[in-house]
Amino acid sequence: MTHAGSAVAMKPPRQASAPNEKRSRRASRRRHSIGWIFVAPFGIVFIIFLVVPLIYAFSQSLFSQGLATGTTFTGLGNYAKAFTDPDFLGGVLFVVVFSAVLIPIQMAVSLAAALVLDSLTTRLAKFSRLMIFVPYAIPAVIGALMWGFLYSPSFGPISQFFALFNMSGPDLLSSGNIFGGLLNVVTWQWAGYYMIIIYAALQGIDPTIYEAAKIDGANARQVAIRIKVPLVTAALVLILVFALIGTLQFFTEPTVLTPMANGAIGPAFTPNIYAYNLAFKFSQINYASAVSFALGIIVFIGVYIFLFLTRKKGSFL
């Protein structure tokens, strides 16, 4: 280290004779190359594990393979098929409706929890914060399995509770109720995480603002709604984007619950499940690539529109 340092230290005198601009160009080139070295570890991983597979998947999606026919080049034919495929569109509709119902609920729950915890300073608040966060620490697969048992008509506490009154409880895994069943699982899993994000943002607000508000005669509710919420808008937007991307790519929970749901979760329940089944169960790897890309396009457009709208208005809520 010391040796390298002395070498660098010896350089400037030698360069002193060179014209100023030349030196600065060389220095900037050196700075650039150092920059590349810093970026390289991430860049290599990014290219090998994301860019190359994406290009490969896209090239796969341009071909079409039938069981009774061979593989043929069909260009964008698979995409035309995907956007007219009732299975794919049905899955997209499901995740869009699911997002529309889920995200407001999730945000309301997490925002309410964060505001309450922010205004409390008791030991109970710390404990509650941890408890609300715990579901996020449970792996999604375990969480879904657990809820599968809680919903079970013969073991679950729900049906046992209803049995006390000689009634049969709702089967949350039946095809009519699976929407609500999944809504509950996902909200339970993620509300705590979003709560922590909002809570952190709330902690970053300068307390003198609250003081000023109090002097102006604002009560606790007014402080919460008029001051705290507008100041954590950035966090709320972030959560919305996370939730939107996550829900459009919904996969884990319905996949885990499939064997317990007696057929209520079909092979095209969500676009991601459909792509998975196409590739690994129905041997349509090319079409599966196209469906994955089509989903990617939808997610990208959705998120872009959302970010564009929120940026333009300047503030959310």
Partner: protein, 467 residues
């Protein structure tokens, strides 16, 4: 400067010594290898180098070429050891790559990747056409399968030869003759008689409900293979749901909305609507619990089912509540027996040693005995006729001689099934249909018409000509 050269010289010397020692020890190792194997020629040495390293079993004869095998059979370990002990020309390297669809997913991926498939793979009978059409399986008639043809019934042969009966693409291990398990305690308590026709079944179901008893049976949405077995029974030797032959790859006959299928679906949906049967998914723990708690009077099941229920907390032996009887019939004068499940061993097209692989596929369960049989119902006629098998009593059925009384006659009457070349897709669509009809969201006949349309469109998109 001089110091550096000196140290360099030293290190070179040290390296040379190291190389010499390594070379000497390497020579010793290779000499030892030669002496232990008694002078093998170079070709087997090369083969040994490419041998798969991680087998789940022990290789007995280490010089023999190895054939890789994927199997989830509970008695695979026993059968593989027996095979390896009896053979010096070939040894099996066995892996459990997951049961059912878990293994198929891996096999399909290996087919798409054009590498890393095993030599021999376990496949359920209904999956054979789906892999045959991809050219993933080898026709075993070239490798001695014709010699064992007579070991199997005509119905079994139809299953493994797919259509024209020219090729043989797999060697069956076990089958799934279907019968009716019934809970004797429930039957005794409510004074039911064992039904022999579906009309009697419905009548007993009504009687059971009127007396305040539990559900007569179960009509799940998540077990399409069961619904398909019921369809096949009603179709009998007439037109089945699919007509397909590998000899004529492009043409596919679809008869999903046949009168027989509509009759079956309407029958069961009617029982569901009248709340005579439950609709618990049979892949769920709730179903096993219902069986154990006596909440179901009957269970239409295949011969492999009792083996799966051994650890479900159902009493066996003298206290066993379950008995088994022949499957109820649509027409008592013309009984039709069906098969549900059952597995086979096939040689993959990726195998570099198909001849040896075929030997494994044929020989692995070729000589069934009480140790390899497990809870299987063997498709080998020799085993079906063996005394130890015929006279076996099943503690799950309270010591009933289930093989002699039910499973063997059920297997005898079986005439074979034609499966589609996209059975997984068909099954997922059938599952969606059953969810709708049992949930009261669709009429059985309309639903089957819809399914016929869906599958026709799918088949066309896959390049088939639909008849």
């Amino acid at each position: 400067m001089s110091v550096a050269t000196q140290s360099k010289g030293k290190s070179v010397k040290r390296t040379r010594t190291l190389v010499a020692v390594l070379a000497a020890s390497g020579l010793a190792v290779s000499l030892a290898a030669c002496s232990s194997s008694g002078g093998t020629d170079s070709s087997t040495k090369a083969a040994a180098a490419s041998k798969p390293a991680n087998c789940a079993n022990k290789i007995i004869d280490k010089d023999a070429p190895e054939v890789t095998l994927w199997s989830w059979s509970p008695t695979a370990q026993v059968a593989v050891d027996e095979f390896n002990n009896a053979h010096t020309d070939v040894q099996i390297c066995w892996t459990n790559a997951g049961a059912g669809s878990a293994e198929y997913d891996k096999f399909s991926t290996a087919i798409a990747a054009k590498k890393s498939a095993p030599d021999v793979v376990m496949l359920e009978t209904e999956q054979l056409p789906s892999f045959e059409i991809k050219g993933a399986l080898v026709d075993l008639t070239k490798y001695g399968a014709n010699k064992v043809k007579n070991d199997f019934s005509a119905g079994t042969l139809k299953d493994i030869s797919n259509g024209a009966g020219k090729g043989i693409y797999a060697i069956p291990d076990d089958g799934g003759p279907v019968a009716m398990m019934y809970n004797k305690d429930v039957f005794d308590k409510y004074g039911l008689s064992v039904p022999t026709t579906w009309d009697e079944y419905a009548a007993q179901a009504q009687k059971l409900k009127d007396a305040g008893g539990p559900a007569m049976g179960d009509w799940p949405s998540d077990t399409p293979a069961f619904a398909q077995a019921m369809f096949n029974q009603a179709a009998g030797s007439g037109k089945q749901t699919f007509a397909y032959s590998l000899a004529d790859k492009q043409n596919l006959g679809l008869d999903i909305n046949s009168a027989a299928n509509k009759k079956v679906l309407s029958y069961w949906t009617d029982l569901v609507d009248k709340k005579l049967v439950s609709t618990i998914g049979q892949q769920t723990t709730d179903f096993t619990s219902a069986l154990a708690k006596g909440q179901l009077a009957t269970f239409i099941a295949a011969s492999w089912e009792p083996g799966h229920l051994l650890n479900a907390g159902i009493p066996t032996g003298a206290d066993a509540p379950w008995r088994v009887a022949m499957l109820p019939q649509w027409d008592a004068d013309k009984p039709v027996q069906v098969n549900w499940g059952g597995s086979t061993y096939a040689v993959t097209a990726q195998s570099a040693q198909p001849k040896l692989a075929a030997e494994v596929a044929i020989g692995l369960f070729g000589d069934e005995n009480p140790k390899t049989i497990g809870a299987h119902f063997p498709m080998h006629l020799k085993a079906q006729k063996a005394d130890w098998f015929v006279n076996a009593t099943d503690p799950f059925f309270g010591g009933q001689a289930a093989n002699k009384e039910v499973w063997i006659p059920a297997a005898k009457g079986y005439e074979g099934t034609v499966y589609s070349p996209f059975q997984n897709y068909y099954y997922t669509q059938l599952t969606s249909l059953l969810t709708k009809t049992s949930g009261g969201n669709a009429k059985p006949a309309d639903a089957l018409d819809g399914l016929q349309k869906t599958i026709t469109n799918y088949a066309k998109s896959q390049g088939f000509t639909v008849k």
